[in-house]
């Protein structure tokens, strides 16, 4: 374990960078995913088509390809932003498709009569979704959404390979190949533990949330 304790400051830096990537991606993917889900259940056919196109595109494309497009495609088109921005963007686009489908499954679990009742008192589509359908969908959405978000947290390791650097995964790569530390303790003792701290905390928070929305009925 000494490779970890000797380099604890590097691991802490890597951990914080990974956490930063994850929090930005969370802040982007959640609202975007809900928006796309709203498109997919909307009464307006072009919006539905757009939502379906979005999900089909990003759910069926490997994350590395999405990231590759962001990191190299946008600059080719003359759009130059930081690699951190492109990396988070790629993760957001990719994850939004999965968030959308988790949310949509929750929406579908709410009886159609609830949406009809909402419409019949004059709520428009967005209001019906916001005040009636989504709050009830939340209960069934939390477990699948939790899986999607935890997968996203682990996927953030891939972002490090697209010019971001300094995240947990790259820290491990730097220690093992450039500085010659053995692979096993660095990845298991440092990198894996770092990700576990993030994902286990997220899992615990999700469980709390699940309990909370389950009671509020």
């Amino acid at each position: 374990m000494s490779p970890v304790f000797d380099n604890i400051d590097q691991f802490v830096d890597g951990f914080l960078t990974s956490l930063e990537i994850i929090l930005w991606a969370l802040a982007g993917a959640l609202p975007l995913g809900v928006l796309i889900a709203a498109c997919r259940v909307s009464p307006i056919p072009p919006l539905r088509a757009f939502g379906t196109f979005w999900v089909t595109t990003f759910r069926n494309t490997p994350l590395t390809v999405v990231l590759f497009f962001c990191a190299f495609g946008f600059p080719e088109l003359g759009i130059n932003r930081s690699f951190f921005f492109f990396g988070v963007l790629g993760l957001v686009l990719y994850t939004s498709a999965f968030v959308c489908e988790a949310v949509r499954s929750g929406i579908n679990s709410v009886p159609a009569g609830q949406a009809e009742a909402a419409r019949s008192i004059g709520l428009n589509f967005t209001q019906g979704l916001r005040y009636v359908v989504l709050p009830q969908a939340l209960r069934t959405v939390v477990p699948p959404l939790g899986s999607v978000l935890i997968a996203m947290m682990k996927n953030s390791a891939v972002v490090g390979a697209f010019g971001v650097g300094g995240d947990l995964w790259s820290t491990g790569a730097s220690l093992t190949s450039a500085q010659g530390y053995p692979t096993f303790p660095v990845y298991v003792g440092g990198v894996a533990v770092g990700y576990l701290i993030i994902t286990l905390t997220a899992g615990a928070l999700l469980q709390l949330l699940e309990r909370k929305v389950a009671i509020a009925r």
Binding site: A71, F72, P75, E76, N80, F83, G160, A161, F162, G163, V164, G165, G166, S170, A173, S174, L175, T176, S177, A178, Q179, G180, Y181, P182, T183
Partner: protein, 295 residues
Amino acid sequence: MQFRRTALVAALSVVALTAAACGDDAEDSAAEPTVAEAPEFEAGTTMAEIAEAGTLRVGTKFDQPGFGLENLEGEVEGFDVEVAKIIAGALGIAPEDIEWVQTPSSVREDVIEGDEVDMVVATYTINDKRKERISFAGPYYEAGQQIMVASDNDEIDGPESLKENPDAKVCSVTGSTPAEQIKQYLASPDQLTLFDEYSQCADSLRNGQVDAVTTDNVILLGFVSESDGAFKLVGEQFTQEPYGIGITKGDVAFCEFINDTLQENEDAYIEAWESTAGEVEGTETPELPEPAPCA
């Protein structure tokens, strides 16, 4: 199915023959290093074991142009590969009896310690940290880190100018020695952009995401020669990167055998360079460095 496979082999043979006919003679002769006939080794040494086994397991890169690159026929080629063939020849092992093991930077110590290979020839810079786990024969080449920028860039003319341009981004490969080395020349760690492959750094330099790429001169020269004048090298080599051959820690006899073999085959060494990395415009044929004492 049988027919189709035969047809494929026939087609490939034609392609190979055509390619051979078109290639120049120097290339062909370099591919045939001398193979010693039944050399004698003291029992118990690594050399005796390898000669007995009749095969040499070599870890090298499969993705490093000029040094170790897998071609479309699935064969590896490059300077590291040729160096390995010289050593294999001295052990009485023909090139076709070498087992090539793809060895990316991050696992080089691991494959030696795990006895998955007999030696690693993979643009492997000798340093003390690595010597804690393995031993190096050589060095067989002195590379040095340099900086590559876009041709129209007048701001950056060496590593020192990175501090003066704190907005400038410099790209290298995750976990590489050059990535560690360049850090001392930076105003802030944010200036360093890391990818898995240098080709991604070159793409980012081309599309303006980064302002410079840094690694060993040889790798950079490959990109410059392919860039049609878009890239240039600036400044001197600011590090000495002696490339060594990684072997099991403490195997002094094998280390000395490798060093002696290289010294005795200087002509083949020069030829190995000229038929591989030396083909890149602007490179100079190296002199075989003095070997470091084995330990």
